[in-house]
Amino acid sequence: MKTLRIDAKGMHYTPLNQKIRAAVADGVEEITLDNVLGQRFIGDGLRGNVKIIINGVPGGDLGVFMSGPTCIIHGNAEHAPGNTMDKGMLVIHGSAGDAVAHSMRGGKVFVKNNIGYRGGIHMKQYEVEAKPVLVVGGTAHSFLGEYMAGGLVLVLGIGKEKSMTDRGIGSGIHGGEIIIRGEVDDYLLGVGAKKIEFTESDLERIAPVIKSFCEHFELDPTEFLDTNYTRIGPASSRPFANKYVWE
């Protein structure tokens, strides 16, 4: 396997991305970035199957418009990792900022710890191959899955008494599902969101996602493989349909 190591210390994001692109074009299959500190847009619009190991804390919009690669981040991530991502994977061994997986159409974002506000906002799906998945090991702030139009958001609440304590979950959701470990207080749900029974068949459906998440972070999946989840979906697929009348 062709590999490459880049020392990103003090490097601006443009030359860094240029190096990554050149390496991918050159057939490199695994790139390790050391000393990453706040460089934005890593993997921006990148195609292919390359694996990028990021040691440090990448800046905002990690993997934005990305279509294929896998990024393993040994650190936290800033604002909007996975923004408008099409394909590929981000595995964040830490926490991430606001708007994680914003408008993501495909691929997976796994965050070991917590995420900020508006996680999974306006995630959407298209056909079978493009179904985005966001899994959060810890908890999320307000407006999780707001405007969601498709895909899956899963919050496991590891180490928390309650998986979610912030409001506005799924406000304006009109597609997709938000699945949260344990009970969720009704007052935390946003406008247009409703609870749907979580069944054995739901568990069967999400079990591969749970197992994959646990595998990445070396967790035992068995403790998550039961039906102690709250499933939240849209109260209507047309939340705005009854708001308007024609002239």
Binding site: T14, T84, I121, Y244, V245
Partner: protein, 503 residues
């Protein structure tokens, strides 16, 4: 229903002496105004929208359409429209939606601006005889140029130039999405801009495969719903436009109803068939000017800094400082959409009451950018109610680099501005996804019509410039000395930085 019905908006009549009973009115009217019963064509006037399709297709000029056949008691305050809106809301309790642009009878500033011409003291220029430079570059311009001498003694440019779009005429077609309008309308306009050396916007609807051959003439749009946006889409466009706002409905998002999301629209927008496409009001990754910088740079980084990125905003009260912020945000052009901008559907209260006229927005943005010494950092594109070459010339004289046209291009395709764009029944094949209606536009013919409009305006612009003794578009840009205000108040003249007629 105690409210009963409101009077029909139009009355349709057939001159039975003229009528040859060919039935073209029945075939053409998608609103089903006409039907045949026995040997007679019957009329249901209430369904008429005055799209004039039947009139245009009647071989005998036998059809008449009268507006407002039933009078209300006249009243200057409680107009017919106000009364009917109240009745509509008393029935529904909902927000009223409407199509096309602002329909209020407010003064149009363009019509109160007059252009200059040369007499005696400076000669006018005949565009037939002398070249008129209309070529316009959209994008960042360097504040100064640095050159260096090569070893061979040649001089070469050292300054690195930012990517620019090269327009043969300062008229572009603005963003109207596939979904809101038909594929054949898009194809017609794409062919036309290719032929006339200019560009058109895709709108927030993704890029249909049929438009790939014209991609180097297309500006792809990234709006808050991110529909159809992926790396492939971004790479195809000649430029990328971030849509923050729209003149017809500043401050709110858009909802494409599921009925319009057929298979083609679904594929192009990358959303499930029949699902509502909801564009949130803000971009949820932009909550500040710093976040805007981040989105702009993420788009530039994705396309390796090869493409200009535009930012489109609605003309609102603080448009000038907002544009100045955008000028510092790595954007290459700011698009300002005035309150007369069109739309497929907008809440009527927004369409008619929110935002400011494009004329004052251009003037105040240009002024602010010049004051701050950043006018070269960004091009200014004006849109929203540009109806003629006169509006175009006045926009440039007020400080715009180029304009986007929307409604005017649709009118060149047959649109009669009936304002029922949202019903998916457009009898002209424009604002519809129904194949049998859409096929009423032949893209080859449509392209000729749109290109003719652009060519006609371009010729008129050359003549207007020549008459003013100007042979280059750069000399017209921001040249407010060639404008005079007619019946505009002092405050308005000050904002426009234009002298009154006679001064």
């Amino acid at each position: 229903m105690t409210l009963g019905s409101v009077p029909p908006k139009f009355k349709v009549g057939i001159d039975r002496d003229q009528c040859m009973d060919c039935g073209r009115c029945i075939e053409n009217c998608s609103y089903e105004v006409y039907r045949r019963e026995g040997d007679k064509i019957l009329i249901e006037s209430r369904k008429c929208t005055a799209c004039l399709r039947c009139v245009a297709m009647c071989p005998r000029d036998a059809i008449t359409i009268t507006e407002k056949p039933v009078d209300y008691r006249s009243h200057p305050v409680w107009t017919r429209e106000i009364r009917e809106d109240i009745i509509n809301q008393a029935r529904s309790g909902k927000i009223i939606l409407s199509g096309m642009g602002n329909a209020r009878d407010l003064p149009i500033i363009y019509d109160r601006l007059l252009l200059d011409a040369c007499q005696v003291t400076n000669p006018s220029i005949d565009p037939l005889r002398e070249p008129m430079e209309l070529r316009t570059y959209i994008g960042k311009k360097p504040s100064k140029l640095k050159f260096r001498k090569t070893e061979s003694g040649d001089v070469e440019l050292e300054t690195k130039l930012a990517p620019n779009l090269k327009l043969d005429t300062p008229i572009m077609i603005g963003h109207m999405s596939f979904g809101a309008i038909s594929l054949n309308s898009h194809l017609s306009m794409a062919k036309a801009v290719k032929e006339t050396g200019t560009y058109m916007g895709t709108g927030e609807g993704g890029l249909h495969k049929a438009l790939y051959p014209y991609q180097d003439r297309l500006i792809v749009q990234v709006a808050s719903g991110r529909f159809g946006v992926n790396i492939d889409y971004l790479e195809r466009g000649a430029a990328i436009e971030i849509k923050i706002g729209q003149g017809a409905k500043p401050g709110i998002g858009g909802h494409l109803p599921g009925e319009k999301v057929n298979e083609e629209v679904s594929k192009t927008r990358m959303i499930p068939l029949g699902s509502d496409a909801i564009s949130p009001a803000p971009h949820h990754d932009i909550y500040s000017i710093e976040d805007l910088v981040q989105l702009i740079r993420s788009l530039k980084e994705a396309t390796e800094w090869k493409k200009p990125v535009f930012v489109k905003i609605a003309a609102v009260h603080n448009v000038a400082p907002i544009a100045a912020g955008i000028a510092r945000s790595s954007a290459d052009a700011v698009v300002i959409d005035g309150f007369r901008g069109g739309t497929g559907a907008a809440p009527k209260v927004f369409r008619d009451h929110v935002g400011i006229p494009i004329e004052v927005a251009i003037a105040s943005v240009d002024q602010k950018l010049r004051e701050q010494g950043v006018r070269n950092e960004i091009s200014v594109i004006a849109s929203g109610g540009i109806r003629s070459s006169a509006d175009l010339a006045k926009s440039i004289a007020l400080g715009a680099d180029a304009v986007y046209i929307g409604t005017a291009a649709l009118v060149s395709l047959g649109c009669r501005v009936c304002g029922n764009c949202y019903r998916n029944l457009c009898p002209w094949g424009i604002a519809t996804q129904q194949p049998e209606l859409m096929n009423r536009i032949d893209p080859e013919m449509g392209a000729v019509q749109v290109a003719n409009l652009i060519k006609g305006w371009t010729l008129e612009l050359s003549e207007l410039m020549g008459a003013a003794g100007i042979n280059s578009i750069e000399s017209l840009r921001g040249n407010r000395d060639r404008l005079r205000g007619y019946m505009l108040d002092e405050g308005m003249l000050k904002i426009l930085d234009v002298l009154p007629a006679g001064a």
